[in-house]
Amino acid sequence: MTRWAMVADLRRCVGCQTCTAACKVTNATPPGVQWRRVLDMEFGEYPQVRRAFVPVGCQHCDEPPCVDACPSTATRKRPDGIVTMDYALCIGCAYCAVACPYQARYRTLRASFAYGEPMESETLTHDEARLAVATKCTFCVDRIDDGLARGLRPGVDPEATPACVNACIAKAMTFGDLDDPDSNVSQLLAAHRHFRMHEELGTGSGFFYLWDRGA
C-alpha cells in the first residue's frame, strides 16, 4: 500500500512563503485563499522569545472529519491517503470547513482577482466550478497521478511532487510514501523527533513536523 504524507522540518523553515506562492500559482487560488500557508508563531516572553514558521494546510488525515461530515460525498479519501474534492458534487454547505480542525478549507462565493479585473493569467486559470464550493489542498493530486502514470516517483521526481515541496528554498518540506520504510519521509521520521498538529483529536494527520534530531 501507499500512504502519501508530508513532512515539514520546523528547524529549516524560514517563513519565506515561497511554498505559498508556488501553490497559488500552480492551483490558481483566488486572493485570500491559501491552500498552503505558513504561520509565524512566537513563544515565550521577552527576552526568552522563540519563533517558529509552521507550514499548514489540509493534513490529509487518516480519519478525516471532513469526509464524515460531507453530506454530498464530494469529499472523499483515496486508498493512498489523499483527501479529494469533487467540485461537481459539492453543495457549498461549508460543513466540512467547520468540521476541519486545521482550518484548511475555503469557500469563495464569487469570483475575485488580485487587481479587480482579471489579469491574463487569471483569465486563463479561472474555474467557475470552484466558486461557492469547498476547496482545499489536494497534495497536487493531478501531478502525482500524472507522474505515476509516467513512471515517476512522487516526492523524488519534481514533476510528480507537490508544487510547495518543489519550491521550498530550504528543503524544509518533503513528500513521500509513509508505508515505504525506505522512502524519504520514512527516513526523516525515523531519524528525527516529530509530532502532528492536534494529535489529541485522533484525526491521524498525514502532515508531520520535525522539531529535533533523533534522541
Binding site: L10, R11, G32, Q34, R37, L39, D40, M41, F43, R50, A52, V54, V56, P65, V67, D68, A69, C70, P71, S72, T73, A74, L89, C90, I91, G92, C93, A94, Y95, A97, V98, A99, C100, P101, Y102, Q103, R107, L109, L131, A132, V133, R193, F195, M197, H198, E199, L201, T203, Y209, L210, W211, D212, R213
Partner: protein, 285 residues
C-alpha cells in the same frame, strides 16, 4: 479573517445556520411537547403546523446559505456517516407525517401525533449530532452539546405550547409541571455543558456563552419558574403568566443557540507541541 495561531470565530456559518438550529429546535420541540401534553383537536393541528413551519423556516434559511443551492438534493448522498444527511432524511420524513398528523388531529384522530413526535426526536437528535460533528469548533464538538440541544428543544417546545395557550386554551396542570421540569432540566444540562468547556474553549467564546447562559438561567429559567409557580397558585387566572413564561423560555433558548453558532464558534487555532530546536544547544554540565 485571521490566519494566526490564535483561535478565531468561524465565519462559514452565519445567522442563517443559527436560524436552522433555533427553528429546528423549537419546532421539533413543539411537535414532541404537543404529543407529551396530550393536546387534542384543532389546537393540536395548529401546534403541529406551527412546529413544522418553524422546522421548515430553519431549513429554508440553511438552504439559502448553500453555495450551490440548486444542488441541494446532493445533501442526501452520505447517509452512512454524515449527520447533515441524516438530518435532511429525518426532515423529509417529518414534514409530511406532521402534516398528516395535523389533518388527522383536526379530524379527531390523535394517535399520529406520536409518529410526528418520534420523527421530531430523530430530527433534533440528528441536528444535535451535526453540530457535534463540527470538530473544528471547540464549543460545538463537546459531546454534551447533544444533550444541550435536545434539552433546549424540549424546553422551547414547552415554551411555545404555553405561549400559545391563551389562544388554544389547552394545557393541563400536568403539562405545566412538565414544562417546569423541562426548564430545570435545560438549566442543569447547560451548567454541565458549560463546565466541560472550561480550559478548552477560547476566552471570547466563553464570554459569549456566559452572556447567553445568564439570560438562559435568569430570564429563561428562574423567571418562567416563578411565573409558573404564581400561575399555579393563582389558579384559573393564570394564562397570561404562563404565556409570558413560555415566551421567556423560548426566547432565551433561541438566544443561547444564536450565540452558540454565531458568537461562540471559535476554532482552536494552531499549536505546536514542541518548539523547533535550532542552532547551538545549551551546554549541560
Amino acid at each position: 479573517m485571521s490566519y494566526g495561531p490564535n483561535p478565531w470565530q468561524q465565519t462559514q456559518w452565519d445567522w442563517r445556520a443559527a436560524v436552522n438550529f433555533m427553528g429546528g429546535g423549537a419546532g421539533s420541540g413543539l411537535l414532541m411537547v404537543t404529543a407529551l401534553a396530550a393536546v387534542k383537536g384543532g389546537a393540536a393541528a395548529a401546534l403541529l403546523l406551527l412546529g413544522i413551519a418553524l422546522v421548515g423556516l430553519g431549513l429554508a434559511c440553511v438552504w439559502a446559505e448553500l453555495g450551490r443551492p440548486l444542488r441541494a438534493l446532493h445533501v442526501f448522498f452520505n447517509r452512512r456517516t454524515s449527520w447533515m444527511t441524516r438530518e435532511a432524511i429525518a426532515a423529509t420524513l417529518l414534514l409530511p407525517v406532521a402534516v398528516v398528523a395535523a389533518v388527522a388531529a383536526w379530524g379527531g384522530v390523535d394517535g399520529l401525533q406520536w409518529a410526528a413526535a418520534a420523527l421530531a426526536l430523530a430530527f433534533i437528535y440528528a441536528q444535535s449530532r451535526m453540530l457535534q460533528g463540527a470538530r473544528g469548533i471547540v464549543a460545538w464538538r463537546e459531546p454534551r452539546v447533544v444533550a444541550l440541544l435536545l434539552a433546549t428543544s424540549l424546553a422551547e417546545g414547552g415554551g411555545l405550547l404555553w405561549l400559545t395557550q391563551p389562544w388554544h386554551g389547552q394545557g393541563s396542570p400536568m403539562a405545566a409541571w412538565l414544562f417546569g421540569v423541562l426548564l430545570l432540566a435545560r438549566a442543569i444540562v447547560w451548567l454541565g455543558y458549560r463546565r466541560r468547556l472550561d480550559g478548552h474553549a477560547a476566552p471570547r467564546a466563553l464570554r459569549a456563552l456566559d452572556g447567553a447562559g445568564r439570560v438562559l438561567l435568569i430570564g429563561g429559567t428562574a423567571a418562567p419558574l416563578v411565573l409558573l409557580l404564581a400561575a399555579t397558585v393563582a389558579g384559573s387566572a393564570s394564562s397570561a403568566s404562563l404565556a409570558l413564561a413560555g415566551l421567556l423560555a423560548a426566547a432565551a433558548g433561541a438566544y443561547l443557540k444564536f450565540s452558540l453558532v454565531t458568537r461562540a464558534g471559535y476554532n482552536q487555532g494552531f499549536a505546536l507541541r514542541e518548539v523547533p530546536v535550532r542552532g547551538a544547544r545549551p551546554f549541560i554540565g
